[in-house]
Amino acid sequence: MSGGDGKRGEPRVTIGRRDFFKVYAAAGVAVLEGCRRRDQELIESPARRSTALPGASVWRRSICEQCGAGCEIEVRTVDRLAKKIEGLPSGFVNAGGVCALGHSALQELYHPDRVTEPMRRGASGELEPIPWEEALETVAAAIAEAPERATLVSGSPSGPLLGLWRRFAAAVGASPPIHWQPTDAVVERAAARLAFGESTRPAYDLARADYVVSVGVPFLDRWRSPVHFGAAWAELTADRRGKLVQVEARHSLTAANADDWLPVRPGSEGFFARGVAGLLLGSGAVGEEERAAYEALYPEAPPDLAATAERCGIDAGRIEHLAAELARARRPLVMVGGSALDGENGVAASAAALALNLLLGAVGREGGVFAGVDFGFENRLAGEAAAALPPAALSDRLAGEGESGVLVVSEADPLHGVPGLEAAFDGAGTVVALSAFFDDTTSRADLVLPVQTDLERFQAVEPDPVHGVPALLIASPVVAPRGEARHPGDVALALAAAAGSALPWPGFQEAVESALSDAFGVTRAADDDASDPAALPAPLIAGALNARQFVRRTTDAGGLVGTGEMRRAPAALASGDADEAPGPIPDPASLPAPSAPAGVESFAMIPFESPKLGDGRGANRPWLQELPDPLSTVMWGSWVEMASTDADRLGIHTGDIVRLTGTAAEIELPAIVLPTVRPGSVGVPVGGGHADYGRYARGRGVNVNALLDPDRRVAGAGAFARGDVRVRVERLRRPRRAERPVIYGRGLRQAEEIPVGWAPHDGGKA
């Protein structure tokens, strides 16, 4: 099930953003319905409560904000406590599914180590509770003192919230906030600007392609929406219709499920894309128009097969085979992301992979790649404020900030995510953390402001591009907030007011409502609650509306005519009148190959996000800690994946403690020897080794980010480069009892085979 493309095979209609808003305007009232009441009122409303008998289940609709995917969920509540999260079957992105991380939002909500009251570091150095007003005034005063030296960091996936922080920064006179977002999001935009001339994240129509080459995209692990792409993958491969080829150095879960896995050398993905382009160009299967578009970007001759095979470290035959199949496929598609864009050459590499779609005619085509257009609500809330800065700006700012600045970190944990920031933090003046937990950053802060988690707050989310259809998801709170936690948006507004630069809204919800009113030209007073009861069954909370229903309602009302598909190709390619036409871009094939340090045997370390802990956000949930990693089956800790051949040579057995030595630091962790690791490389999951983050995460595992060099950047993107790090690996010892990795499939070291008996099913009769 996919949203927004009701009629398959119809001629594509591209709509400009302005038209799009017009189309949606008629349905504005429906959206506003979700914004009518304040959260507490909603929960305490006698009318609502009458439906909720003691002990009876009430299902409330909400948005999952654990990542930026924008899965729509229903939350089962009993006696006003949240019990269970399920995917909304009509969900725009998830169509009923929820991932492991999404389920665990309940344990975030009810975590025993939540921050529930504002705290300030007292004279003793301990954090002590203080009243909200005092906390706000303290922060506001600090910002007002030297606003130009204030640094804001926001990690929320919500676009409108980021817009609000931008507005806040502009109002108080601080520099624009730093958007603490995944590397992919930053690099993809930069690469799309190069390849497609528009800096929108590409949206991939995986489900309707028939031959997909995924260059490093771990879309079944944790990338954008594993739920959506899982379903799309199932559709792609159903009845062996389509084929997925994973081109990735590490054997990720996606590689494990792919029909073919090409374990290219880490960092050589761009070279690989260029090599494949060369084969395609030479195959005669490429049309003139596509050839011209491609060669406009890459005037140089692509590398030949032998050079590609050599650089990528894989069999030339396999590359040739892949190119031949690509050329033959009816609806081929090349995706790029994950480890392909983690390295310093990430932008060039992913641009090269994206550009393959030009060769294949896959841009704007069904089963191809589209422009992942935002709804624009970030900007509506931000007004004229300057754009947010990329993550790497943080260490630049901290490095140059000097003593007395204020650092406000909202819903982000940069200390865990980036090495070397510790020292810079010491230099920063007052550190203010808006957080629900004492994570690495928060526990280091001078002031801690408790914020609400997903299910406690009013939500307005522009999801990551999945369908290529812009959407805004809105939901009311599901349960009352714990303790004194507040909405981070409300905190921003209160801070602005306290700093004497009050913004025009009393709260975040009103800000979103106001933006919707502006967008659709309707008044907030409009109310059609009674007009369409079927769409909102009584037990469901009015207010969680998604773009899909929005469209349906609009369609029912006759407001949306002849839509066809609403997604579109990147503007530059579709209309040809973009501001910046794509021109020649850096050829990754011309970049020098990374050289191994001489003398010591070094491994390419691939940090990766495991499906369960992600970037570390999931590390504080017991469900996720005790969830076995699907491939290594490790629970409760970090590990390093090694190839059997390397392990044999170094005398390492599964469970042995090994030391990884990088340029600046070393870490010790248990080895897991797998037959799927590319020799010469090691994989280490990120997200472990929190200095704090509640009882389930504290000190659990190892933070692999310690090995990264904070000065390495993805060129041209403002993101930290974490790919292709060279490390030395040595065996330390057999593990002590308490060090042994917790391996769920304990027998796997003895039996790698499948002992499964066959028999036809007989209906299970007794």
């Binding site: 999260i85 379903a231 199932a234 494990a256 690791v677 085979e753």
Partner: protein, 233 residues
């Protein structure tokens, strides 16, 4: 008569383990902590078995969700001295926690090793206990447990159908794992009803029973387009 059954399409399973967490959330399964998990005492009712075939770089990875197979002729049932596990009329291997004295005989006799044991009393530090499903009892220490096919959901589905004065229809009851599955690899329903989704899946030429030669007559059907071969020497 109803025979509850489940079909799992291995060709659609990505091994993402969303079902495993969904199951824990629905069924109040305790997390045992690092030390206990290291001892092999993690309590997942549903596990994703991962197997590799072949050598690098031509390794094939297989995932197989394994849960209680709700056998028609369940080896776990006769060995229980106190009828704590028994066969209910709808084909479920029901567990009566309050009767279980913890001999663990049933677990030894389960060819699928899907039974898990509460080695200690469950701990849900407040307010994590706010999340507990009121429809499912929290098991005390010393008691065996396993997948119930979300029997509380089956009961809820029946109650709802009874209130609406109708039979339980296919699709009325969804297990937590099935509901959560992003790729819709799980079907659940009545195997006696030839029109149910699960029956239709079970008719597939790809369908097979896990360890079928034991003739335990499982209520879980697996579908796979490629053969799961037995190990060589």
């Amino acid at each position: 008569m109803t025979r509850w059954g489940m079909a799992i399409d291995l060709d659609r399973c990505t091994g993402c383990e969303a079902c495993v967490v969904a199951c824990a959330a629905e069924n109040n399964i305790q997390t045992v902590g690092e030390e206990q998990a290291r001892e092999g005492r993690a309590m997942h009712w549903l596990r994703i078995e991962r197997y590799y075939e072949g050598e690098f770089p031509n390794v094939r990875t297989r995932f197989m969700p394994v849960l209680c197979q709700q056998c028609g002729a369940a080896p776990c049932e006769p060995v229980c001295p106190v009828y704590a596990t028994y066969h209910n009329p709808e084909g479920l291997n029901a567990m009566v926690y309050s009767r279980c004295i913890g001999t663990r005989f049933c677990a030894n006799n389960c060819p699928y090793t899907v039974r898990v044991f509460n080695w200690f009393d469950a701990e849900f530090p407040a307010p994590l206990d706010s999340q507990l499903n009121p429809d499912v009892s929290v098991r005390p220490g010393g008691v065996m447990e396993k997948c119930t096919f979300c029997v509380q959901r089956i009961q809820a589905g029946k109650d709802e159908a009874a209130q609406e004065d109708r039979e339980v229809m296919d699709g009325d009851v969804k297990t937590a794992c099935q509901q959560s599955c992003p790729t819709k690899a799980i079907a659940f329903g009545d195997l006696e009803d030839p029109d149910s989704e699960v029956s239709r899946w079970a008719e597939s030429p790809r369908a097979f029973s896990l360890l079928g030669d034991l003739d335990t007559r499982p209520g879980v059907v697996y579908l796979s387009g490629t053969e799961w071969r037995e190990p060589a020497e």
